[in-house]
Symmetry: C2
């Protein structure tokens, strides 16, 4: 069993990005700039956004954070999006989800200029990903593809089973893995809460992507010997062993599943760190396109 | 075995559309208007466009046809698209594919206003289909979904195997069938030219959608007893029995596969007639939205 070390890989990618930023600046280009919009003070969102900004500093990007209270109106948020669309210094930006219930996430997402949509959530980017055209691919799927590539994991003709059909992980993963290319060219099965015979299907999988958000859902008796297992789960569970009082659990029963795997991502330290790196890569791409 | 009669169903849907058009006009709305752009004189394209225009007449739509020679420039074609985008009388329009090699189909498709893109090929419509937002779904997949609905074929929790990953049939079918809803909520496997064990996978399928374009590819020994088989293939093969010198062949070995099926679509008279009906439904929807 080989551990897929997302932390180490993400650091390697960050070094590459930092190098490229230096070259861009020395060739007279401006510093890439990522902006984030944060509404309210959800603990998870605060942590994610802080980590994104810290990563910007690490690679030499400019970053800015625009904060709103939970009582921001949809119109105010849309106006902020419009400003960012028009701000020539901002190469890409994200609006951290979830948003308060009185604001339409669909409307806000679609208001973002697809060329600055480094989260890859705009329908235009999703659609272009399908057709294989140039697009911003959302961070988590792109991070997984990068891990598969850097660990030379062969996906061509392999059977990949994706558990979960979310717009931001399961669905794009199922598309990316079945597109022509490398990684890609896999036979892909999309499973979800309505799937009747999940265990039977998982047992056929050469590659399993667990992205349903139920801690330790994937058990050893659902995984065939030699499978590649990618764990996208990041559920906070109470813990007496940490200062914060919680720790992250993945969707995979790691201690029992990992001995059967050829490759497996741990939680934390697997897919998570790659997610932020993908956002940086998208921002770099947006800056280069300009 | 029950035959899924696309011809009969399409006629029923056309009657429904014609009724609605009458009501729209009597309530003071304008006649829905579908325009088609045809480049060159490819036999298949000529036939398809002629059939689309004939169908418009049948349901009471206005239609118009804009023709260009094979030597049209990309700029000329893009100008025609812009005109149609801006023409308030045109509710929806299509640019018949394929286009000559010197013209970028991607550029032309993306130039179409997504609100008039009744073919559903614009990335924005593909992307919105993924997120489950309101979108124009491309004609063939939508026609298949309509057949499944009208024949009360249960897809929830069923295993659907899609053979083919094209942007206009296989890919959207795999997404639509695995989205929440009815029809939908199926466990979906996408197979293609790189799939290693196609027969084994097909034998697990409750529903097979054959959309690869190889005549009589799907054989009886690849289909389990009681399966639903949807044949999207429409390859012209030479024939001495027809005046035209050719006839349409599907991707399914119909004589041998059909006895095993609970439901099956014939070729011709299955999915084909539903394709045009979907285009009419999309045009009606575009007209209603205005």
């Amino acid at each position: 069993m080989q551990l897929i070390d997302g932390k180490k890989t993400s650091q390697a990618v960050k070094l590459e990005i930092a190098q490229e930023v230096k070259q861009m600046i020395s060739s007279g280009m401006k510093q890439p700039h990522l902006a984030a919009v944060l509404v309210g003070n959800d603990g998870g969102s605060e942590t994610y956004v802080a980590a994104k900004i810290k990563s910007c500093e690490e690679v030499g990007f400019a970053s800015s954070l625009i904060r709103f209270g939970n009582d921001v109106t949809e119109a105010e948020l849309l106006a902020a999006v419009k400003n960012l669309n028009e701000d020539a210094d901002v190469d890409g930006f994200i609006v951290q989800l979830p948003l308060p219930k009185h604001i339409s996430e669909e409307k806000v997402t679609e208001a973002i200029d697809p060329k600055k949509d480094v989260d890859g959530f705009h329908p235009q980017n999703l659609g272009r990903m399908i057709t294989g055209a140039d697009a911003f691919v959302s961070a988590t799927p792109q991070g997984i593809m990068e891990l598969l590539k850097r660990y030379n994991i062969d996906t061509k003709g392999k059977h990949a089973v994706i558990i979960g059909r979310s717009n931001i992980v399961g669905r794009p993963m199922s598309i990316l893995l079945s597109l022509k290319g490398n990684p890609g060219d896999a036979t892909v099965t999309v499973c979800h809460s309505r799937t009747a015979n999940l265990k039977e299907i998982c047992l056929q999988a050469d590659i399993i992507v667990a992205a349903l958000g139920i801690p330790e859902f994937l058990k050893a008796d659902m995984v065939k010997e030699g499978a590649v297992v990618i764990d996208v789960g990041t559920t906070r569970v109470p813990s007496t062993e940490t200062k914060s009082g919680w720790r992250l659990k993945g969707d995979v029963d790691f201690p029992n599943v990992s001995p059967k795997c050829s490759f497996i991502t741990p939680v934390p330290g697997g897919v998570g760190p790659m997610t932020i790196v993908s956002l940086l890569l998208n921002t770099l791409k947006a800056a280069r396109h300009k």
